[in-house]
């Protein structure tokens, strides 16, 4: 069972810059991309440094795929899949997102799930 949870207004997200959100006790990093207009949601926890910082990483692209780089030690992650591009064994969890009525919504498991 999943449900869509409202997080913030789209305008609260600065294009190409991340923002952290607390969603059901889970720390999520949201990114609104300027060219596609899409919003992506991944773990805010950096799997390498174990600090909650992913939303503060720089957005970019590698061979056309949108990426975010950990601000701690600069590993890049694919924003679409969460896959770390510098270490095949590491990835971030990703959540489906949508924009409705000018609000950003993230799809979460209705029961516990996210952790």
């Amino acid at each position: 069972m999943t449900e869509w949870q409202r997080v913030c207004e789209l305008d609260a997200l600065v294009p190409d810059r991340g923002a952290a959100a607390l969603i059901g006790g889970h720390q999520v990093a949201l990114f609104r991309l300027s060219d596609s207009g899409e919003v992506h949601a991944v773990d805010h926890l950096d799997p390498f440094s174990h600090a909650n910082v992913m939303a503060r990483g720089l957005v970019g692209s590698r061979k056309g795929t949108p990426t975010v780089a950990s601000p701690m030690h600069k590993q890049s992650f694919d924003l679409l899949t969460g896959q770390c591009l510098d270490d095949p064994e590491v990835s971030l969890q990703v959540w489906p997102t949508r924009v409705s009525d000018g609000w950003v919504e993230v799809q979460v498991e209705a029961r516990s799930g996210a952790a």
Binding site: A12, R17, A21, L22, L30, L45, S49, G60
Partner: protein
């Protein structure tokens, strides 16, 4: 799982370090537990660079590697731990009042500095020159004696070889009147011949050092205070001496081996075969203590080769050590001296080609085979620039007229492709031309950093780097590879070219720039570079509009990210001068927000543990009290460090603090390719460590001496003299132009030292740009700096005044003031720090645990 075997290493010097590094690189730490015992209190450091300690550098800067090596599981360093005996039967060594087992043992105990049997050689004020502790004590002694005696200290160095001249240089730099005493008929008798020694003597005397050759020291006398004061020679002559350094030679530290009954060489050294195995097959000897192939090897290069041999053997390989190149190139007291191959023309029938220019203080000699075709060796005094190119040619035909190599203008180096594959290019690390070419062809290295990392060439003394670069570029050209200077996958130009594009165009945003001159969305490399360029050219506040998306988190929130995701805050304290009231404000803010405080090396105060949502509140308090951003987060001017100077110090000759404050206020906020550090010292004692800075200023009786291109950190560099005795006005203009020229032309993350090297013509060319306007851009540079000074505003004050900018400091977009719930701290020495994983586990589980004491071993 197979049981890991135990390797014990006695001695934690340079060669032991290389051994452990080589083992780890080859993954041997999976099969071996490595324990290293060193009786010095420091982890292994660069003994070769010991003299640089006198330029007031932190001994930490001398440490080899980055320290990570000693934190690896299975690798353990015991510092301050002397090994007192070896029990070969039980395979145990004794140290730290207990015993340690080993399967294999490596002796890497190096050498002692010897002291000749001269009466009084143990008086207070007599030193040797071998360890950091030796030089630290020597330095303290000289400065102390000078203060007590109220005059220049008289120094005497016994021994006019390599070490003696290094020591003489150090004493001179400390302001002592120095005499070098050499028993032989000329200086450096082991490296150069009589004529070379004569040239060396003339240059050294010009530097104010007195030289006595053919002289034996017979006695040292103490004054009434019991400290050394006079030196007497065998011929009855006497000189005053307040400090004496013995640099008469070294002896292998083979006492452990002797007691354990291992076979020793006649004049010391542990005898080992070409596998570095001693007379006990479980024990190896490497480095200066090893006696292999008929001799001991007193240089670090051969020691490193032995370390590699042992690493290979421990992994079942069959590498051998069969002797090494004993060529040396040194800079002693600023004088180049090099000797290589058969420098003394010992080969039958060899011919010598000599070039000497006594007025210029240059002596050069090549030793050629009897047909004048093949280079056998040579020595260079006063100008050793040909060394890098000549040394790999030993044993090979020089081709053209050999004299051409000696003339200053004729030093046409062999073109990169003519050097045979087996020619040894880097003698410290034993790397051949073929290996460097292989790095390009087989390992896809396309820049000098990659080649250095892949082959280790050029990573020790560095004298071969220019040749390595040439070989790499020639090979790349042969492979049809372009020497890529692209910034990243989004911009195909260099940072300097991008700078020019922005400078001459009207472009003021990243999106415009990438549309017109790049591809894609950018990345964590090009975005901050563009932000920095826009910042340098005064095209907007770092947090304005689109600029905001280009900045690393540090620049974005104007604070420094720490390991737990909180930030540190550093208010500017220009020149390190702060009022008591200012200190109280900082202290109060720290107390109110529970911040950990620490004094930085740049003479200011760092406040740690500020959460992102607290930054505006903290800064509001600081800005209200008159503080502004210290830009500790930016690739920009950090600090202008200063000593207290003339206003208080009894030695000061200029007002260093006022100049430092003026300079810091002038260049604050200047965005640059890398961080910039400056310092000003009020006299030649150099208490502000200015020569370790990008721009260093040292006061003289007549004005200011300007040094450029120094830095600390990973590859510490000394600043070089750029101009002397400038007035304050001339000084400021010179720094303006130097900095702007650097900001405009350097590569991303290139500090001033490598930048100076990368400029064609080096420091001389930059000097010409700054003082002679050789490129006709001086007016532009002045205008750019004036624009910077006029448009400076405090980023934090500007941010606090802008509601919109404050939004980015929300911890969560949907809970802007909720602290990160995962932060956990423990208390240590009365302040807090982030909990480590173990402590976290316990704290989150609810129990309390004692905070661990810092471990004694690394």
């Amino acid at each position: 799982m197979t049981q890991k075997k135990k390797l014990a290493v006695v001695g934690a010097g340079m060669v032991a370090h290389r051994l452990v590094e080589a083992m780890v690189e080859r993954g041997a730490d999976e099969a071996w537990d490595i324990e290293v015992f060193g009786d010095e209190t420091r982890p292994p450091y660069d003994r070769v660079a010991l003299t640089s300690f006198f330029s007031d550098r932190d001994p930490e800067d001398l440490l080899l590697g980055d320290g990570e090596l000693w934190k690896r599981p299975g690798v353990r360093l015991y510092r301050g731990s002397i090994v007192s005996s070896i029990d070969r039967e039980a395979k145990q060594i004794r140290a730290r009042n207990t015993t340690f087992d080993y399967d294999r043992l490596v002796l890497a105990t190096g050498s002692y500095a010897t002291v000749p049997p001269v009466e009084g050689s143990d008086l207070p004020g007599c030193f040797v020159y071998r360890t950091v502790d030796d030089v630290a004590e020597l330095r303290a002694w000289v400065l102390d004696r000078e203060a007590v005696l109220g005059r220049k200290v008289k120094g005497a160095v016994v021994g006019g070889g390599l070490l003696g001249l290094e020591a003489a240089g150090a004493l001179t730099a400390l302001g002592a009147d120095t005499t070098v005493i050499e028993f032989a008929d000329w200086l450096m008798p082991l490296q150069v011949d009589q004529a070379g020694g004569g040239a060396l003597r003339r240059i050294i005397e010009q530097l104010g050092v007195t030289v006595r050759t053919s002289t034996a020291t017979s006695k040292l006398r103490a004054g009434r205070d019991g400290k050394v004061t006079r030196m007497q020679f065998a011929d009855g002559d006497k000189i005053p001496a307040d400090v004496v350094v013995f640099a008469t030679g070294v002896r292998p530290r083979d006492e452990l081996a002797r007691e354990a009954g291992l076979e020793l060489g006649e004049r010391g050294g542990v005898i080992a075969d070409e596998a570095c195995t001693t007379s006990d097959d479980s024990i190896f000897a490497i480095g200066e203590v090893a006696h292999i192939a008929g001799r001991v090897w007193g240089l670090v290069g051969p020691g490193y080769s032995m370390a590699e041999v042992v690493a290979d053997r421990l992994l079942g390989g069959d590498a051998t050590f069969e002797g090494a190149d004993l060529s040396t190139k040194l800079k002693l007291l600023g004088v180049d001296v090099a000797s290589f191959g058969d420098a003394f023309a010992a080969t039958n029938g060899s011919l010598e080609v000599v070039y000497a220019d006594p007025t210029a203080g240059v002596y050069k000699k090549l030793v050629m085979s009897d047909d004048a075709q093949t280079l056998l060796g040579g020595m260079l005094v006063g100008d050793a620039s040909a060394y890098t190119n000549l040394r790999p040619m030993v044993g090979r035909a020089l081709g053209s007229d050999p004299t051409a190599w000696l003339l200053p203008e004729g030093m046409e180096p062999p073109s990169g492709s003519s050097l045979p594959d087996d020619a040894n290019v880097c003698s410290c690390n034993n790397v051949t031309a073929g290996t460097i070419r292989g790095a390009v062809t087989d390992h896809q290295c396309t820049d000098i950093a990659a080649v250095k990392q892949c082959t280790k060439a050029g990573t020790s003394c560095g004298s071969c780097v220019s040749l390595v670069k040439k070989l790499m570029e020639t090979q790349m050209a042969e492979e049809g590879l372009e020497v890529s200077t692209a910034l990243c996958e989004h911009f195909s130009v260099t940072r300097a070219q991008l700078f020019d594009i922005v400078w001459v165009s009207e472009i003021s945003t990243f999106s415009e720039l990438i549309d017109k001159h790049g591809t894609g969305r950018g990345c964590d490399i090009c975005r901050p570079v563009v932000a920095s360029i826009l910042g340098s050219l005064g095209k907007g506040h770092v947090l304005e509009g689109e600029n905001a998306t280009l900045q690393d988190t540090n620049d974005h929130v104007m604070a420094n990210l720490q390991k737990d995701g909180t930030y540190s805050v550093v208010p500017r304290i220009p020149g390190g001068e702060v009022t008591p009231a200012g200190l109280i404000v900082i202290g109060q803010v720290a107390a109110d927000f529970g911040l950990y405080t620490k004094i930085t090396g740049g003479q200011r105060i760092d406040l740690f543990g500020a959460r992102i949502e607290q930054l505006p509140e903290i800064w509001k308090r600081l800005v209200d009290a008159g503080f502004e951003s210290g830009h500790a987060y930016g690739k920009s001017l950090r600090t202008v460090k200063s000593c207290v100077g003339q206003s208080w110090c009894r030695y000061g000759v200029q007002d260093s603090t006022t100049l430092a404050i003026d300079l810091e206020l002038r260049y604050r906020g200047l965005r640059s390719p890398h961080k910039l550090k400056l310092a000003v010292s009020g006299c030649a004692r150099e208490c502000a460590e200015a020569r370790g800075k990008d721009v260093g200023i040292i006061a003289t009786d007549k004005g200011w001496n300007l040094y450029v291109g120094g830095n600390g950190g990973f590859t510490p560099r000394h600043a070089q003299l750029f101009a002397e005795d400038l007035s304050t006005e001339e000084l400021v203009q010179a720094i303006d132009r130097f900095l702007m020229y650097y900001v405009r032309t350097a590569d991303r993350l290139q500090r001033t030292a490598p930048w100076l090297e990368s400029i064609e013509g080096g420091i001389d060319a930059v000097r010409a740009v700054v003082f002679d306007d050789s490129l006709g851009i001086a007016a532009d540079l002045d205008a750019a700096m004036a624009a910077h000074v006029n448009t400076y505003e405090d980023e934090w004050a500007a941010t606090l005044a802008d509601e919109k900018k404050l939004l980015r400091f929300a911890s969560f977009v949907n809970a802007p003031e909720t602290p990160d719930p995962d932060l956990v701290y423990v208390e240590e020495r009365g302040q807090r720090r982030p909990a480590d994983d173990e402590e976290r586990a316990v704290l989150i589980a609810g129990a309390t645990i004692p905070v661990r004491d810092a471990e004694v071993t690394v």
